[in-house]
C-alpha cells in the first residue's frame, strides 16, 4: 500500500507545474492545458483522501470537477478561437486593449 503522503506530494508537484505553466507560458492553449493539470492535481488529492479515509465523498466530487473541467475547456477553447480570429495571435499580452 502506497502511503497517503506520496499521493499528496505528487499532487502538489502537479499543481505547481500547472501554476507555473499558467504564469510562464505565452500561448493560450498551453495555459488552458496547464489549468487542466492543476484541476487534475486537485482531483488526485480528492481521490487519495477518499481512499485513505474510506469515504466515497472525495470520488463524487471528482466527478463534479471533471464535468466542470469539460465545460470550462469547451468555453475556454471557444473563447481562444474567437480571440485568435480577431488578432491572429495566441499571446495573452496582445489582448490588453482595455487597460488604462
Amino acid at each position: 500500500m502506497i502511503p497517503l503522503n506520496y499521493y499528496l506530494i505528487l499532487s502538489a508537484i502537479l499543481f505547481t507545474i500547472g501554476t507555473a505553466g499558467v504564469f510562464v507560458r505565452r500561448n493560450l492553449i498551453t495555459i488552458l492545458l496547464s489549468i487542466e493539470i492543476m484541476l487534475n492535481a486537485v482531483n488526485l488529492t480528492f481521490v487519495a483522501f477518499g481512499r485513505a479515509l474510506g469515504s466515497a465523498d472525495g470520488q463524487i466530487i471528482v466527478f463534479f470537477v471533471m464535468t466542470v473541467a469539460a465545460a470550462e475547456a469547451a468555453v475556454g477553447l471557444a473563447i481562444v478561437i474567437a480571440l485568435f480570429r480577431h488578432r491572429e495571435s495566441l499571446n495573452p499580452e496582445s489582448f490588453a486593449s482595455l487597460k488604462w
Binding site: 499558467v22 504564469f23 495573452p92 499580452e93 489582448f95 490588453a96 486593449s97 482595455l98 487597460k99 488604462w100
Partner: protein, 678 residues
C-alpha cells in the same frame, strides 16, 4: 350641512379652474356667483338653526373626518358654528356674494380665460376664509389662514404682467409670512402647554386658571398669535402690504382687503378671547398697537392722492380700532365694528371701483372732481358709506365705533380714548376730503397720460401683456373714454355704474345705514342684542356695571358725534369752499406734509433696515461664500477626491492576464495562509 358652506365655493373654484376657459363669461360668472349665493343661503339656514338653540348651547358641530392622529396628538377636521363664526360666515358669504355680482360687471372687459381665472380665485378665497372662520381647532384655522394668504397673493398680482402688481403680490405674501411665523409658533406653544389644539378644550383649560400677573406662557402664546394677527390684519409693524395691495382689481380690494381677509386677525383674537383675557400684558400691547396703527394710518390717509390708497389707509386705521377694542377686552364691540365696517368699507371700495371704471382707470383724486351729477348712484351710495365710516349718528359706523370708544373710556384707558377720538376726527376729514375732491368742484384738466396713470411705471410685460391691461382700462365698450389725452376728458359723458354694480352698491348702502341697529346700545333704548348674541362665544361676561353708565355713554356719544360732524365741517371748509386755504396750509406745513405723503418713510426704513441687509448678506455671504464656496466646494471636492484616487488606482489595471492571475493566486495563498497558519 356646515360642510356645504366652504364646499360650494370650492366647487365653484374647481369648475371655473378646470373648464372656465372653455365657457363664456356669463357661464363662468354664473357658476361663481351661484356658488357664493348658495353658500350664503346655506349659511343663513345654519344661522337660523343656531339662533333657535338655547343661548348657552348655541353651537353646531360637524366633524367631517379625523385628519391626523399621532401619539397624544389628534386633529379632527371639524367645523363648528357658534355665534362668533355665525357673524363671520354671514359677512363673508353675504358681502362676498355682492362683490361677486359686482365683479361680473367690473371685470367684463377681461378675456374669457382671465375672467374665469379671476372668479376661480375669488371662489377659492371665499372657501378658505370660510374654513378659517368655521374651523374648530387651530390647525383647521391655519389651513384657512394660509389659504387666504395665498389667494390674496394671487389676486393682488392678478394683472401680473404689470410689475408693480406682481411686486405688490409678493410683498403681501412675504409680509404675511412673517406674521404666519408668529402664528405657527403660537400654535405650537399652545399645544406644548395645553396638549390640545381645539379651541373649546383650550378655553376650558385656561378658564380654570387665574389671569397671569407677570409675563408667563399664556402671555407668550398670545403675543405670538398677535404677531400673526398683525400680519393678516395689517397692523404696525406689518401693515405695509395692505396699501400696496391696491394694485389688485378693485372688487378684490373690497372683498379681501376691506371686508373679510384682513379681519381674520381680529376674528382670531375674538376666537381666543379667553386666552387673551388671561394675558393682561398682551392685551395692553394689542390696544396700544391698535391705537397707534389707527392714528398713523389716519394721518397718512389725510394726504394720499390715490383714491384707493386713501381707502386702504382708512382700512388699516379702522382695523386699528378693532384691535383697540380687543385690547380693552371689548370683544363684542370689536366684532361689531368688524361687521359694520365690512358693509361700508366694501361699499366705499366698490364705489371707488365704479368711479375708476367710469373714468377708464383714473385713480388720482387730483384729476377727478364734479362727478356728482354724472355718477348719481355712485355718488349717493359713496356718500352714505362715507357718513357711516365717519361716525355720524344713526348710521352703522356710529354705533360700532362709539361702542369701542365707550368701552375704552370705561376701562380707564383715557389716553387711548383721546387718540381714538382724534382718529375719528381724522377719519371724517379724510373721507370727506375724498368725497369733495372726487365728486364736487370742477374736474381738473387731465394731463396727457391721464388714460393710463398706472403705467407711469415702466411696463414690464410684452405688448400683448399690456394689451390686456389697457383693454381693461379703456376698453372699446366704453367709447366715451378718451383713450388718449386730455381734451375730451372734461367734456366726455360718463357712464354711471352698470346694473350689476349698482345693485351691489345699493344693497351695501342700505346695509351701511341699517346694519348697526342690531347692536343698538342700551343707552339709546336698544338691547345690545349683538353683544348678547356673541357673549357665549367669548366665554367672558361684560361687566354688569355698564348698565349704570348710560349717562356717561350718552355723553361720549355726543362728544364723538360732534367730532365726526366737526371733521366733516373741516373737510368741507378746506376742500369744498376754500381749496386755496388747503393749499396754503399745505405750504405752511410742507415738512410734515412730505413725511405724511411718504408714509412716514416706513417703506424706506424697512428697506434700509431689513430688506437691504438681508439682500446683502444673502448675496455676498450666503450666495457667494456659503453656497458657491462651501456647499458647492464640498460637492466638487468630494468628486475631485474620488477622481484623483481613481486615477491612482487605475494603474493596477495593466491588461496583462498573467498579472491578474498572479494577483488572484497570491490572494488565495494569503487567505489560505491566514486561516491555515497554525
Amino acid at each position: 350641512m356646515l360642510l356645504l358652506i366652504p364646499l360650494l365655493p370650492l366647487l365653484g373654484f374647481l369648475v371655473n379652474a378646470s373648464f372656465g376657459r372653455r365657457v363664456s363669461k356669463a357661464a363662468a360668472g354664473a357658476v361663481a356667483c351661484g356658488a357664493m349665493i348658495g353658500s350664503f343661503a346655506v349659511s343663513l339656514l345654519s344661522v337660523v338653526r343656531l339662533v333657535q338653540l338655547e343661548p348657552d348651547a348655541r353651537a353646531i358641530v360637524n366633524q367631517v373626518f379625523t385628519w391626523i392622529t399621532s401619539g397624544d396628538f389628534r386633529a379632527d377636521f371639524t367645523l363648528r358654528l357658534d355665534p362668533l363664526s355665525a357673524v363671520m360666515i354671514l359677512v363673508v358669504t353675504g358681502i362676498g356674494s355682492l362683490i361677486h355680482i359686482y365683479s361680473t360687471a367690473y371685470m367684463h372687459e377681461e378675456v374669457d380665460s382671465e375672467y374665469a381665472r379671476y372668479f376661480s380665485y375669488l371662489n377659492l378665497f371665499a372657501a378658505f376664509m370660510l374654513v378659517l372662520v368655521l374651523g374648530a381647532n387651530f390647525l383647521i384655522m391655519f389651513v384657512g389662514w394660509e389659504g387666504v394668504g395665498l389667494c390674496s397673493y394671487l389676486l393682488i398680482g392678478f394683472w401680473f404682467q404689470k410689475k408693480s402688481a406682481s411686486d405688490a403680490g409678493k410683498k403681501a405674501f412675504i409680509v404675511n409670512r412673517i406674521g404666519d411665523w408668529g402664528f405657527v409658533l403660537g400654535v405650537l406653544l399652545v399645544f406644548a402647554r395645553f396638549g390640545a389644539i381645539d379651541f373649546q378644550e383650550i378655553a376650558r383649560a385656561v378658564a380654570a386658571m387665574s389671569p397671569e400677573a407677570g409675563f408667563g406662557t399664556i402671555s407668550a402664546i398670545t403675543l405670538l398669535l398677535f404677531i400673526g394677527a398683525t400680519g393678516k390684519s395689517a397692523q404696525i409693524p406689518l401693515y405695509v402690504w395692505l396699501p400696496d395691495a391696491m394694485e389688485g382689481p378693485t372688487p378684490v380690494s373690497a372683498l379681501i382687503h376691506a371686508a373679510t381677509m384682513v379681519t381674520a386677525g381680529v376674528y382670531m383674537i375674538g376666537r381666543n378671547a379667553v386666552l387673551f383675557s388671561h394675558a393682561p400684558q398682551t392685551l395692553i400691547v394689542v390696544a396700544v398697537i391698535g391705537t397707534a396703527t389707527a392714528l398713523m394710518a389716519g394721518t397718512i390717509g389725510l394726504v394720499q392722492n390715490d383714491i384707493k390708497r386713501v381707502l386702504a389707509y382708512s382700512t388699516v386705521s379702522q382695523l386699528g380700532y378693532m384691535f383697540l377694542a380687543m385690547g380693552v377686552g371689548a370683544y363684542a364691540a370689536g366684532i361689531f365694528h368688524l361687521y359694520t365696517h365690512a358693509f361700508f368699507k366694501a361699499l366705499l371700495f366698490l364705489g371707488s371701483g365704479a368711479v375708476i371704471h367710469a373714468l377708464g382707470g383714473e385713480q388720482d383724486l387730483r384729476r377727478m372732481g364734479g362727478l356728482k351729477s354724472e355718477l348719481p348712484i355712485t355718488y349717493w351710495t359713496f356718500l352714505i358709506g362715507s357718513i357711516a365710516i365717519a361716525g355720524v349718528p344713526f348710521l352703522s359706523g356710529f354705533f360700532s365705533k362709539d361702542e369701542i370708544l365707550f368701552r375704552t373710556y370705561a376701562s380707564g384707558h383715557t389716553i387711548l380714548w383721546t387718540i381714538g377720538l382724534l382718529t375719528s376726527l381724522l377719519t371724517a376729514i379724510y373721507m370727506f376730503r375724498l368725497v369733495f375732491l372726487a365728486f364736487h368742484g370742477a374736474r381738473a384738466p387731465a394731463p396727457v397720460k391721464a388714460a393710463h396713470p398706472e403705467e407711469e411705471e415702466p411696463a414690464a410685460g410684452s405688448d400683448a401683456a399690456t394689451g390686456t391691461d389697457t383693454a381693461h382700462r379703456a376698453g372699446p365698450s366704453h367709447p366715451a373714454h378718451p383713450s388718449h389725452g386730455a381734451h375730451g376728458s372734461g367734456a366726455a359723458h360718463l357712464h354711471d355704474a352698470p346694473p350689476a354694480m349698482a345693485l351691489a352698491l345699493i344693497v351695501l348702502a342700505v346695509g351701511s345705514v341699517l346694519a348697526g341697529y342690531v347692536g343698538l346700545p342700551g343707552a339709546l333704548g336698544g338691547g345690545d342684542w349683538f353683544a348678547r348674541f356673541l357673549e357665549p362665544a367669548f366665554g367672558v361676561h361684560p361687566a354688569e356695571d355698564a348698565v349704570a353708565e348710560h349717562g356717561l355713554e350718552v355723553t361720549l356719544m355726543l362728544v364723538s358725534s360732534l367730532v365726526a360732524v366737526g371733521g366733516i365741517g373741516i373737510a368741507a371748509y378746506f376742500f369744498l369752499k376754500n381749496r386755496h386755504a388747503a393749499d396754503r396750509l399745505a405750504e405752511q406745513f410742507a415738512g410734515p406734509r412730505r413725511v405724511l405723503e411718504n408714509k412716514y418713510y416706513v417703506d424706506e426704513i424697512y428697506d434700509a433696515a431689513i430688506v437691504q441687509p438681508i439682500r446683502i448678506t444673502s448675496e455676498n455671504g450666503l450666495w457667494k461664500v456659503v453656497d458657491a464656496r462651501i456647499i458647492d466646494g464640498a460637492v466638487n471636492g468630494a468628486a475631485d477626491t474620488v477622481g484623483a484616487a481613481s486615477d491612482l488606482l487605475r494603474r493596477i489595471q495593466t491588461g496583462s492576464v498573467r498579472a491578474y492571475a498572479a494577483s488572484l493566486f497570491l490572494g488565495v495563498v494569503l487567505i489560505l495562509g491566514y486561516y491555515l497558519w497554525p
